[in-house]
């Protein structure tokens, strides 16, 4: 069971919002890059987010560039999962590959600052602030197997190949 606070964002949060190109020189220094996570959409996010918190977003989260640094720094900042109405393809794959779950559900009912309880196995999100309960779509089978090994690197270290 994961518990933490919701940080609410809108639709179309691109990887440029998460890790802007102007900070490309920090991509080989991820701890430094993580201090700027989400900076171009909420400059206060990096200083407020705590280990265990959640990003809660609208449609098409993570659109744009293929930069895997985006889910990596979100994870490094302590975010335990992203809840969104929908997610862009490359970001979804990258997030699972680095062991960060993206859970697709109707996030309309969740407000900024709400306390959430996420049960990954049961597929449920409980908003403890307003008492509402949501279910999220199952992560596709192939991706779930990669996620369950901790990401694609541990998966390949273990199996040496794709075992789909």
């Amino acid at each position: 069971m994961l518990t933490g606070r919701a940080f609410k964002f809108g639709d179309n949060i691109s990887t440029d919002h998460i890790t802007p190109g102007r900070l490309a020189h920090l991509r080989s220094n991820l701890p430094e890059l993580a201090k700027h996570v989400m900076e171009d959409t909420d400059p206060t996010f990096a200083s407020r987010v705590k280990a265990g918190d959640f990003i809660v977003a609208g449609n098409n989260f993570g659109l744009g560039s293929s930069r895997e640094h985006a889910p990596l720094v979100i994870k490094m900042a302590g975010v335990r999962a992203i809840l969104a109405k929908s997610v862009a393809r490359i970001f979804f794959r990258n997030a699972i590959n680095v062991g960060l779950p993206v859970l697709i559900c109707d996030t309309t009912l969740i407000d900024d600052g709400d306390e959430l309880e996420v049960d990954l196995a049961a597929g449920t999100v409980k908003d403890k602030t307003n008492g509402k309960q949501l279910t999220f779509s199952k992560i596709p089978e192939v991706m779930l197997r990669i996620f369950n090994e901790g990401g694609l690197i541990p998966y390949i270290q273990k199996y040496g190949d794709f075992k789909l």
Binding site: N12, A24, R27, R89
Partner: protein, 417 residues
């Protein structure tokens, strides 16, 4: 039941009867990364425990996003790529050779290939009939080592374009119009497959422009059949042996079909801060732009520079607007010099940058100031994209860009032609 282009290519490369929705493991013909995603790819490759590349001649590294590098952090990343190439024997391209997608199109991609790149605009090679898609550094690193990747065979949306473009209107206006129609997530997880007589009559460069922006509708790939035009292009690039025809079947199943009459299109512009926020250029008259950029993997090819030079010949950039021109590759730049376009553009007031990504992603070479607006021929206008979250980016065609340079405000190119 027949197959879409995506199903055909993935069947061939997975050795299976691939249908939309299936998960396949496909052999990859080309895997590449660039200087902002490559260093992480190298680290993930090493972390995976691979000792060697699956096939060094099918793996390429590009130094194009920071070319030349503006700071020591990115210079050190260039060193990581250089050392990796020296150790593994993979292909590597120097600064000034051009944008990865343009070099892939000119020299590496073949019809029927599966190509993955650690860059979302890898989809550009779909213009040649290659199943080319962007992935992150870890997927790319694993493909470096295994020579294959897993893919879900996408459903396809067929885009049928018919009729002739009016004067001043072209491929960029078409793809912006389509993205405006279906939205920035209108094709998520899906393939866009382009056909119709307008597409059949299109040269390669506009096909690349359209394929390049498929990802801005969320698509996994933007595919064109490989036909006579593709063959002529490969011939002209000294790659006749790389050609094979690739076409979808007449009875293939599509999730959706969208018909567009090219004759009804007008010069189209994306407004801040999403690509699907579409307006007509004429509706934005009066919107001042302090910077105009002509270039990028979307519109930095010879025909794009020719269109701009034609409009700007004998004219000057507006005194409050700066024009930045970035040829997409060394080949494009050399041809543009030979054909006189570079001279015309410089005489009109342009600053010419070395081949590469230029100011598109906000690293350098034209970062916007506070509250400034830019009209760019690039593919993205997200907040902060060009280095400043307090600036505004509009996207348009080379013709709209050239026209706006003259007037200092967003201008329908037909007003100055």
């Amino acid at each position: 039941m027949g197959k879409t282009l995506a199903e055909k290519i993935l069947s061939q490369k997975s050795g299976s009867d691939a249908r939309a929705g299936d998960i396949v493991i496909a052999k990859v013909d080309l895997v590449f990364a660039q200087d902002t995603t490559g260093p992480l790819t190298v680290r993930q490759f090493q972390a995976s425990g691979f000792k060697r590349l699956a096939n060094p001649q099918q793996i390429a590294l590009f130094r194009d996003h920071a070319a030349p590098s503006p700071n020591s952090g990115l210079s050190n990343d260039h060193i990581i790529l250089h050392q990796f190439a020296r150790q593994t024997g993979c292909l590597i391209y120097a600064i000034g050779e051009g944008i990865c997608h343009q070099i892939v199109a000119e020299s590496l991609a073949k019809p029927g290939d599966v190509i993955i790149g650690a860059d979302s605009h890898t989809v550009t090679a779909g213009g040649l009939g290659a199943f080319a898609t962007g992935m992150g550094s870890t997927d790319t690193a694993i493909a470096f080592g295994l020579g294959k990747t897993w893919l879900q065979v996408p459903q396809s949306i067929k885009i049928v374009v018919s009729g002739n473009f009016p004067e001043g209107v072209g491929a960029k206006d078409l793809i912006l119009h389509l993205i405006g129609q279906i939205g920035a997530d209108g094709a998520t997880y899906k393939a866009l497959e382009f056909g119709g007589n307008t597409v059949d009559n299109m040269s390669m460069s506009p096909r690349f422009t359209i394929a390049n922006m498929a990802v801005e509708a969320g698509a996994k790939v933007g595919l064109f059949a490989a036909d006579k035009t593709t063959q002529q292009y490969l011939d002209s690039q000294g790659r006749s042996n790389h050609y094979q025809p690739v076409a979808s079947d007449a009875d293939a199943a599509y999730a959706q079909t969208i018909s567009i009459d090219a004759a009804n299109l007008e010069p189209t512009v994306s407004q801040p801060h999403t690509v699907d926020n579409i307006a007509l250029a004429r509706e934005l008259k009066g919107t001042k732009v302090q910077q105009v950029v002509i270039g990028t993997c979307t519109n930095g090819r010879l025909d794009d520079l020719a269109i701009a030079a034609d409009i700007l010949k004998g004219k000057k950039t507006h005194h409050e607007t700066r024009l930045i021109v970035v040829p997409a590759s060394r080949q494009v730049m050399l041809e543009a010099i030979t054909d006189g376009y570079i001279q015309t553009l410089i005489e009109a007031g342009a600053v010419i940058l070395p081949p590469g990504c230029g100011p598109c992603l906000g690293l350098h070479q034209g970062v916007l100031g506070d509250v400034e607006s830019c009209l760019s021929t690039a593919n993205r206008n997200f907040k902060g994209r060009m280095g400043n979250p307090n600036a505004f980016i509009y996207l348009g065609s080379p013709a709209t860009a050239a026209a706006s340079t003259i007037t200092g405000e967003i201008t329908d190119p037909r007003e100055v032609m």
